[in-house]
Symmetry: D3
Subunit: 210 residues, 6 copies
Amino acid sequence: MGVHQYFKSLSDLEQIIRCPGKFKFQEHSVASHSFKVTKIAQFLGTVEEKCGQNVNWRILYEKALNHDYPELFTGDIKTPVKYASKELKKLFSDVEEEMTRKFVEKEFPSEFQAIYLERLKEGKDETLEGRILSVADKIDLLYESFGEIQKDNPEPLFLEIFEEALRTILLFQEMNCVKYFLKHILTDMLNERFTEHDELAGIAKRILEE
Amino acid sequence: MGVHQYFKSLSDLEQIIRCPGKFKFQEHSVASHSFKVTKIAQFLGTVEEKCGQNVNWRILYEKALNHDYPELFTGDIKTPVKYASKELKKLFSDVEEEMTRKFVEKEFPSEFQAIYLERLKEGKDETLEGRILSVADKIDLLYESFGEIQKDNPEPLFLEIFEEALRTILLFQEMNCVKYFLKHILTDMLNERFTEHDELAGIAKRILEE
Amino acid sequence: MGVHQYFKSLSDLEQIIRCPGKFKFQEHSVASHSFKVTKIAQFLGTVEEKCGQNVNWRILYEKALNHDYPELFTGDIKTPVKYASKELKKLFSDVEEEMTRKFVEKEFPSEFQAIYLERLKEGKDETLEGRILSVADKIDLLYESFGEIQKDNPEPLFLEIFEEALRTILLFQEMNCVKYFLKHILTDMLNERFTEHDELAGIAKRILEE
Amino acid sequence: MGVHQYFKSLSDLEQIIRCPGKFKFQEHSVASHSFKVTKIAQFLGTVEEKCGQNVNWRILYEKALNHDYPELFTGDIKTPVKYASKELKKLFSDVEEEMTRKFVEKEFPSEFQAIYLERLKEGKDETLEGRILSVADKIDLLYESFGEIQKDNPEPLFLEIFEEALRTILLFQEMNCVKYFLKHILTDMLNERFTEHDELAGIAKRILEE
Amino acid sequence: MGVHQYFKSLSDLEQIIRCPGKFKFQEHSVASHSFKVTKIAQFLGTVEEKCGQNVNWRILYEKALNHDYPELFTGDIKTPVKYASKELKKLFSDVEEEMTRKFVEKEFPSEFQAIYLERLKEGKDETLEGRILSVADKIDLLYESFGEIQKDNPEPLFLEIFEEALRTILLFQEMNCVKYFLKHILTDMLNERFTEHDELAGIAKRILEE
Amino acid sequence: MGVHQYFKSLSDLEQIIRCPGKFKFQEHSVASHSFKVTKIAQFLGTVEEKCGQNVNWRILYEKALNHDYPELFTGDIKTPVKYASKELKKLFSDVEEEMTRKFVEKEFPSEFQAIYLERLKEGKDETLEGRILSVADKIDLLYESFGEIQKDNPEPLFLEIFEEALRTILLFQEMNCVKYFLKHILTDMLNERFTEHDELAGIAKRILEE
């Protein structure tokens, strides 16, 4: 009942651990993830701007900062569940939206409700900023899974996540920032010294060549 | 692809933390919770037997042991989400069942599939054993929330969980084991030395008197 | 002084970490271990039943569920100490039994004492259910050490534990469930992708051939 | 050696724990703190805009997002040390700036260096956005210390931090967002249910009345 | 097989957590405990010296530093077990000594064996240094339990430990350092601000007056 | 205000984690590190004594025990910062000394101030005991970095720390204890079974041959 509840809720995002139910050497909270996605989006936006695109920075930062806030209401549900069926996925979005709406109407004074409803809605749309968010979200996921693979986590799930994240990034390969990422950043990542190097580089090479 | 995967999956239940997204002094995994629920069900069954009820122990232990195994596929989704709408709740059960069925068919040799499909289905039915499971599950939840309240966790959610758990137990108040619990165990719990004592005892008294 | 103390004590088993004094990537509590042993015993019992053995399920579940409860009184004492001498081992069992008896007499109302004394006594006897417990206990230990070895824990102790657990399982190799385990489950475990693969497979092969 | 190193460094900020050397019930990383400060700054900026101020959102988000990045090079040095002497404080800023400059010149391609030098410099200046950052940084610190006090952390340091943070916020009391914070948010915070309530409310009252 | 193993074993003492099987807000390792006991013994020795006693500092430091090293072989066995019977206690000491002897003979070159056998033997004898060790060991235990009580740990065990530790210290009340401790240090401890203050001060007062 | 504050401060050293800001498989506190350095110094002193050197044991133990106590005031500042410039390093020492002096004068009764000022001053001087401390401090750092490298921590920093620690030890290679360490202990360390073995042995060989 007030902005105080909203400020307190930010700390709850530090308590939601991503990828629950699997052993991880290094855990990441939704709060940390949101920070990193926003920083990555900042870099990607900078690349787009250098290439002549017009970036709406306010929108970009807001999309990135808020993109996982609704996990406050739902937790980090396992991806396979969320997308188990089209029908469920649709229902899930509806529930998230509904809970977000209720939260905003309960906690925010009326003069702030419209702006927060706008800020907390799904940000991955077809705008330049929405696409940068989609890419930034997957780049952080790529780094999370890379961190586990590099530390020799034997769980094959992390290779699958790496692969899925890279495939999603490639859906946006016409973007300048994705081109930059693939050429300059992914290359450095795959050149890192580590045990499963061959397997990982093989997966990446295969996906890129497809 | 095989029972080895099933055995490995047991350890994943140690990685799912109950009540994600809230600060807790003491965390509990789904594996630990399942152990405690089975031990509590053992005691409740013993009370029922003493009172002349016929307990099918094999069924009781299997229900208790397996009752949260499907969280392996879905994670510990926040209860408000799960029950946000009747429609969603129904869909959720369907998804859980479907994923469980797929897991059993993929990992278990065919001669074990029927028995594991039976073991992993929803256990909270109208049988004596199903009702004991419902009560045992809520007693452990009562203890989890009591533990936080007793340690002065300022989050009001734990008082709400305590209240909700106690209300659900009272739905089964005609059972011998619930009568025993209310008379002998809850009393001792509420007599424990702690700061918020008055508030907690007040809630319990109010619910019991309703 | 009452069943409330017994219910509370279940949570203390979540605080006893197995294999103290050695760095572990993934820690396991006695509560989680008890859950996994009971689930493994369930599978082993199922195999025995399929092979025509008569399994007393109530007894099997009770043995598995309760087999480490006395660690509540003693902690997880290092195995080398426990078995440092025949004399000490005998004394240790005596002390565990005595402390368990005192606990039951102090916390349980008299009408439940006999049944809990029976439930909490050493379960690894010569019955089918006792032998299944012995095997299930070692299979979970095998998985715990395998988990560390697969994550490249450099501590040689985990290879020793793996070896000792496998040797103990082999003492029961005439059992149907052990035959099934060796043929179908251990094989899959040893085929997992990991660094020390050769060394581990070598150890297992050597033990099996002896 | 590339933007890859910069992306990897974001995860190092998850490893720097704020307020080292004191027992805390809940730990906060620099990454989480940066996320929360940016979210708080977003709200404060919204209040300023509603009151007719012209907010440069791009600048505000960048200041908030990056304000503790240089802790990557220095760690979270205890505040009393940092400000032990004017001379040391000045030297410290110089060192931070120098290390940031070296990092940018080493890791970023030349076309990005100017923009990142700008982004990573000290953000707490006299502009509206710089002052919002100063306030948002202290509000999160206030919440961190409040969280410990509310959980009955006996360490008096957290009362001192609460006091110091509130005093700093009051230095900006002519700002619309600070007026809003004091009137609507702080009030709700101090009305929360908790043990040390009287003492904390007393401190806040005394500071506000001075 | 060599001093390298001895150096590595020091890190294992960081993995043994004191008081296993009970929820604690703050955990302490045997390594940290040994450090604190040695620092406390240093202060107590200083008091004795000021009062004219002749302190053998080398002996005092060695006793304090090494006094829990044999827990490397046995773990932190719960005190009630260790002392469950005179017979068991005696056997336990014998086992610890035997395992220490074997370790020294296996890992240390022969020229160092005598000195390390001397260093690792039980240090709590009737000498001034042995008595200082007994007191320092209990003072750290007093602080550990005080820390839990002050943070409102509801487990009554910590009040019992506090009481037992204080009683043991009083057995040495003729020592100058104990007199100093009771007069100057315990008083300040009991004057600390905290919730259970009355109960704790009551216990201490009662013990001191007995 | 009293020795009670000093005793309490010892526990704060358990809360300062060494090498902040980098992912580590195993964390080490300043308290544990101090314990291990003192134990290592004990062994090195023993070697010196065997070789005919006259060791002042009281001084040696006090230097080792107290060498990182001032981190209580400053935290574990990243080494590159501390030594970023000669000027800063000097200022840093001054600040540490000043804060230590203030602490001693505030917390210790006047009769203990002189002895504690002496005990808490920088111990790494040119005396035999000062040089043993320098070596022991780096040996523990060598073991800390070795532990990470052996567990396949992909962060190159740990190879750098290993290299830097070994180089510093070699500065004292004329000492008997360093000769013993290089010949008997380092050899065993480098013969340990682990993945990055070749790379690590290569670094050590190169440094030793320089």
